[in-house]
């Protein structure tokens, strides 16, 4: 019996073959289902690249122009595909260039496995050429990292890396492999994926009593309010979430990373939370009686001033990461667990309600916001175009089916507020870290992660210049992404703050740009720049219809502000409409 069990549970052991560490690594990646790698070669990772030469048919390696571009592409890939993004970089500067992306992936819970080359083990600590202490540099910004100095470790370590990256609350993992381990031959006995580490509990056990307590609170509530985050998407719990929202009839609002988990035009979707979120969701956070937070972490951009955040409400917090419970907002009922498991249990116990009066209140606020902000933003009478009307026109062409990738700043807030999203995994943006330069490489990766979908990158004139070298990656890989630069000739968000809080002292926000269309043309990417409203629909259509990548630069109002806005240090209910 035991023997039979062993045969059933253990993969059939292959006969050991002698291979190099590099080959073992690539075989491991293939077994993990990796199809695309974003990377850049260099001295200390050369043996892996040498092995990769023979794996061209199985592994699609995208040569980026900078390691930061590589890791953001890996993030975009992971976010649209739901798989682990894989990134290669060499030692020293190659590895340090990954740090921004690691920090971004860590705070936004993106599953990544980054492989960095390292100098020979015997040179560690000697200040060898391109040696840097990658493990210690990346420790604060990785979920896990490990240095391999012996090829025998590779199969097990890679298996652990993938398991850790994608399980529980996902995150980036970095594996640093010394050059000798890449070259070293060893007896490779086949690759066994990992599904257990003794010190690691990816998800807490679901406690039925908390589910019951939560359901009781919800059933008694007169003004319950759901706020959800990326946890719903990361847990692939969109269906479970929709069922919960629809049965309970509770209005639901999203954080920017949660956008799209419930379609934008779903009747129970009441909009966006946070500093530039919608009016109703922010104000009514401080009026609801039960706040149900699902897969979100109460970021300060969502909560505003904490000591005035939802103090009247009982808080139910569903999260897979126990460290998030009570971190920022004290919960009345903590529902530990994977929301894919906890939501159905909760749905079963909640009563079907309509909450008409409560919904009317949201509608009232939506109308106020529409009159004060949205109408003018989407239907401006000014000569210059607004960012909002570009998104509105884009919605008509995408019908909400495209993947929208945004950078960081005003255009990001406008795009998140107005873009129509029908599907999950459609809104790719740098949320927690706020990494300017994220969008262009992330859009490249997003397309590789969702080949059948249209990918539109919306980027500001500032952020575009941070990673525009990745136009080279677009050119060489032939990837098809649409780039919209919303050019207000300013670092707009900082300018907005300087206008509102620093008496218009515009300190170094006046940024000049090159001729973006000419830059794109130099990379053989067609493009166009428009400044007239009349050209907008045609230009957007031309962009979307173009076979292959396209860059559209839209000149928009220089000094537009994003509203509503919760000023820093203010409560969410003190949100300003102008």
């Amino acid at each position: 019996m035991e023997v039979a069990q062993e045969i059933l549970t253990k993969p059939i052991a292959k006969k050991a073959v002698e291979v190099s560490g590099s080959v073992a690594l690539l075989e491991a990646l293939i077994t993990e289902g990796v199809d695309t790698i974003f990377g850049y070669p260099g001295g200390a990772i050369m043996p892996i690249y040498d092995a990769l030469f023979d794996y061209n048919d199985k592994l699609n390696h995208i040569l980026v122009r900078h390691e930061q571009g590589g890791i953001h592409a890996g993030q975009g890939y992971a976010r649209t595909s739901g798989k682990v993004g894989v990134v290669f970089a060499t030692s020293g500067p190659g590895a340090t260039n990954l740090v921004t992306g690691l920090a971004d992936a860590q705070i936004d819970s993106t599953p990544l496995v980054c492989i960095t080359g390292q100098v020979f083990a015997h040179l560690l600590g000697t200040d060898a050429f391109q040696e840097t202490d990658v493990i210690n540099i990346t420790t604060p910004v990785t979920k896990w990292n490990y240095q391999v100095t012996d090829a025998n470790e590779i199969p097990e370590v890679i298996a652990k890396a993938f398991y850790i990256a994608k399980s529980g609350r996902p995150g980036p993992v970095l594996i640093d492999i010394t050059k000798n381990a890449q070259i070293q031959k060893f007896n490779f006995e086949g690759y066994k994926p990992c599904n257990h580490i003794r010190s690691y509990r990816p998800k807490p056990i679901v406690r039925p009593q908390y589910i019951k307590e939560a359901a009781e609170l919800i059933n008694q509530a007169k003004k319950p309010f759901i706020i959800w985050g990326q946890g719903v998407i990361l847990g692939s719990a969109e269906q479970e979430f929709k069922a919960f929202v629809e049965k309970s009839g509770i209005p639901a609002a999203w954080t920017i990373l949660g956008a799209g988990a419930l379609p934008t035009d779903h009747p129970l979707n009441v909009g966006m939370l946070g500093m530039h979120g919608n009016y109703g969701p922010n104000v009514l956070t401080n009026e609801c009686d039960v706040l149900i937070a699902i897969g979100m972490r109460f970021d300060d951009r969502v909560t505003g001033r904490l000591d005035k955040y939802a103090k009247q409400a009982k808080v139910i917090h569903l999260d897979i990461d126990p460290a998030e419970i009570d971190k920022n907002v004290k919960s009345t009922v903590p529902v530990w667990g994977d929301c894919k498991e906890t939501l159905p249990l909760l749905t079963e116990l909640v009563e079907r309600k309509t909450l008409t009066e409560w919904h009317d209140k949201f509608k009232e606020y939506t109308q106020n916001e529409f009159d004060a902000v949205i109408f003018d933003e989407l239907n401006p009478v000014t000569e210059e175009m607004t960012m909002g009307e570009v998104i509105k026109q884009l919605n008509l062409l995408t019908n909400g089916d495209a993947v929208i990738v945004t950078d960081v700043g005003q255009h990001q807030m406008v795009a998140c507020r107005y873009a129509k999203l029908n599907k999950t995994r459609s809104n790719i943006t740098s949320g927690g870290l706020g990494t300017m330069g994220f969008a262009l490489p992330a859009a490249i990766g997003a397309k590789f992660g969702a080949q059948e979908r249209d990918v539109v990158a919306i980027i500001g004139d500032g952020g575009f210049q941070m990673t525009l070298q990745e136009l080279g990656t677009i050119m060489q890989s032939g990837v098809d992404i649409k780039i919209i630069i919303l050019n207000n000739r300013f670092l707009g968000m900082v300018r907005q703050w300087q206008e509102l809080f620093n008496e218009r002292r515009y300190s170094f926000v006046d940024i000049q740009s090159p001729d973006f269309v000419a830059v794109a043309a130099a990379y053989r990417i067609p493009g166009r720049c428009i400044a007239d409203r009349a050209d907008l629909p045609g230009a957007l259509k031309e962009m979307m219809d173009n076979k292959g990548s396209y860059l559209l630069e839209v000149m928009v109002t220089k000094e537009n502000n994003v509203f509503p806005m919760v000023p820093q240090g203010c409560s969410v209910s003190e949100i300003r409409l102008k």
């Binding site: 210690n136 979920k143 490990y146 850790i164 003794r198 010190s199 056990i205 126990p322 009570d326 971190k327």
Partner: protein, 196 residues
């Protein structure tokens, strides 16, 4: 909430780099580690950290959850000084001539619970174990006689609860996946805690 000394106990795998991973959880928040001891535990290949910090309980609880989140950390517990029995060891090196001539060694040993570890012609090494005040006390006694060298270990602490960590740790090892003990269940159990 008021700050006080907390004893944080961390059970981990024995992995290179883990000390740094745990240390940066404190340094990132600009929290000073007053004492840190790490050594193999009674369970094979599992190490035990004893960390002492001066903070409010709310901060300590959040720190513990962040530590427990690390992949190679098995369990984290925290206790106030009242919940643990703790000791620090100290070594004192003094000139044997001076000590023999001027100090009533016997009384010194008896009154301070010290013992002689090394006795040489040129110097003598005493050892004490106890609380900070006790080891401090012997310093002040020996100082006038020319203390050549002094060193104090980090704190080690053991909980007063009669069952201790061992059974909990073994249970964690056995259960798959283990029950997550999030709150510290010893803090509010006065009846299970006895004082000496």
């Amino acid at each position: 909430m008021e700050k006080q000394e907390f004893n944080i106990t961390v059970y981990t795998e024995n992995q290179i780099g883990l000390l740094n991973r745990i240390a940066i959880i404190f340094t990132r928040r600009k929290i000073n580690i007053d004492s840190l001891n790490t050594s193999p535990s009674e369970v094979e290949s599992i190490h035990r950290f004893n960390i002492v910090i001066n903070e409010s309980e709310d901060v300590v609880r959040k720190l513990c959850r962040q530590i427990e989140k690390q992949v190679e950390v098995l369990k984290v517990y925290y206790h106030t000084n009242e919940d643990v029995i703790w000791q620090e060891m100290a070594l004192y090196k003094v000139s044997t001539d001076v000590i023999a001539e001027k100090v009533s060694v016997e009384r010194l040993l008896r009154e301070n619970g010290a013992r002689v570890v090394v006795l040489r012609k040129d110097y003598t090494v005493f050892e004490t174990t106890g609380h900070r005040e006790e080891t401090d006390n012997l310093i002040s006694i020996l100082q006038p006689y020319g203390l050549i060298e002094f060193v104090r270990s980090a704190r080690v602490a053991i909980i007063k609860d009669s069952e201790g960590f061992n059974s909990k740790l073994r249970e964690f090892e056995r259960l798959e996946p283990g029950e997550d003990v999030i709150e510290n269940e010893f803090l509010n159990k006065g009846d299970k805690v006895f004082t000496m």
